[in-house]
Amino acid sequence: MKKLINDTADVVSEALVGIGAAHADLLRVDLDKKTIMRADGPIQGKVALISGGGSGHEPMHGGYVGMGMLDAACAGEVFTSPTPDQMEAATKAVDGGAGVLHIVKNYTGDVMNFEMGAELCQAEGIAVEAVVINDDVAVQDSLYTAGRRGVGTTVLAEKLCGAAAERGDDLQAVANLCRKVNDQGRSMGMALTSCTVPAAGKPTFELGPNEMEIGIGIHGEPGRERMELKSAREIVAMMSEAILSDLPFESGDQVIALVNGMGGTPLIELYLIYNELNQICQARGITIARQLVGNYITSLEMAGFSITLLRADEEMLVLWDAPVHTPALRWGV
């Protein structure tokens, strides 16, 4: 294993200290509870937003803490959910009296840990709402699976709901917006390589030189299908078909598009992917009204990408354009 680390046991803590030091104007870090919080919080009268999950997906979620987005992000070990005591502490620390929204990605561990954390806070009279993001079309949503995973739509939900909270929407309204974003967002990912969890020391799975994994999650968990590597055009066509037909997206729709790198894919390839996606959308009469291209929800050093499309109404576009000031997203300020 080749990694720029000191001790595997210290990876998460040392990275947290680093992000705190690099963005001291925006963030403060509670190292004991492995939580990143807005430096200027709690904001009285504003609904607070908390997310969290395993580490290894940077900049998500800590990079999205700041004005117009999250109030706190709880970090677990690499690819491991944070624990209920972290969510409890974060919720109490950021509550400005208007309640707290937990944005949870649909993974068994995350859901159970956030549930326990919310129960602890509700028992003390703090208003907590939770919305579970489950946008990954690669997973069949049925009684026979843990349900669809939460992936790229999470980033878009954090931005849009953060803007809604900032303008003064109440907890119910922000939670409803989050559910709406989740309902209208769809994603799918793929990998060219595996990734290595520092504490595990070896790749989570092996892929041959001419193989790719379609429908990959963000934890190095294998996807649904392994196949021979194809051209970017064929891969994007395959993935966008799965995404577009699922909602389904229709001619005349406006979307916010996220072409996301998994951590080990150069930007030149992501822009090439965006070009393919843009052409497919144009041919179908779908307008990409806003977009992000880059590494926003990663899987350590995995090479690969994911596509997220969110059907957006005018209100969502207004919220998208609203000012945001976080380590990873910044505009309008």
Binding site: T108, Y144, A200, E221
Partner: protein, 212 residues
């Protein structure tokens, strides 16, 4: 009869068990999950060991509660809430007790299992830890009713858990991260069922043949 000292011995031995099986459990998890189960269990029980060795214990319930709260705050993933809930419920079944009869011990495991079922919402044959624990509890209850010794009760439970664990290999996962794999989860032994089997096996190893 199981004393507080016996329980301490078991909980401390679990740290050794999960340390020795850290790689094994992580490898099983790499096949159908996210390659961290052994790492998380070892981290959790190392914290439990440190915590319970540093404190005096007057009753079984509070010892198990400390174990539960430590697991909840250190394990993470799905295993944290599941094993945490197991020990939390087990602790309520042993409140203010200083010893456990064989019947009380079996009841402790059973109440813990019911907590896991509630928290995880899994059913038998979903390829989870309850596929090891449910048959184990059936076998232990049966052995108890037959008047078996503690060793024989634990032997029956461990054997049934081991069989249940092996039975997860051909199963299609319906819960947890392995369920994302669909058909590809078939052919792999469930890591959670394996760590549950190890929990019982460790009880047999430390309490068996210690005719109490």
């Amino acid at each position: 009869m199981i004393s507080i000292e016996n329980l301490l011995t078991w909980l401390i031995a679990l740290q050794t068990t999960y340390l020795e099986n850290k790689q094994y459990l992580t490898d099983l998890d790499a096949a159908i999950g996210d390659a961290d189960h052994g790492i998380n269990m070892e981290r959790g029980f190392t914290a439990v060991k440190q915590k319970i060795e540093a404190t005096d214990h007057n009753d079984v319930g509070s010892l198990l509660k400390i174990t539960a709260m430590t697991l909840i705050s250190t394990v993470g993933g799905a295993s944290g809430p599941l094993y945490g809930t197991f020990f939390l419920r087990a602790s309520t079944a042993c409140a203010r007790k200083t010893t456990l009869t064989n019947a009380e011990l079996v009841n402790m495991f059973d109440v813990g299992l019911q907590g896991v079922v509630q928290r995880g919402k899994a059913r038998l044959a979903d390829k989870t830890m309850i596929d090891a624990l449910t048959p184990a509890l059936e076998a232990m209850t049966q052995a108890l009713e037959n008047g078996a010794s503690l060793t024989n009760i634990l032997q029956a439970g461990t054997d049934a858990a081991e069989h249940g664990m092996q039975q997860t290999i051909p199963m299609l996962a319906k819960k947890g991260r392995a369920s994302y794999l669909g058909e590809r989860s078939i052919g792999h032994q469930d890591p959670g069922a394996t760590s549950s089997y190890l929990m019982l096996k460790t009880a047999l190893d430390v309490w068996g043949n210690e005719e109490t």
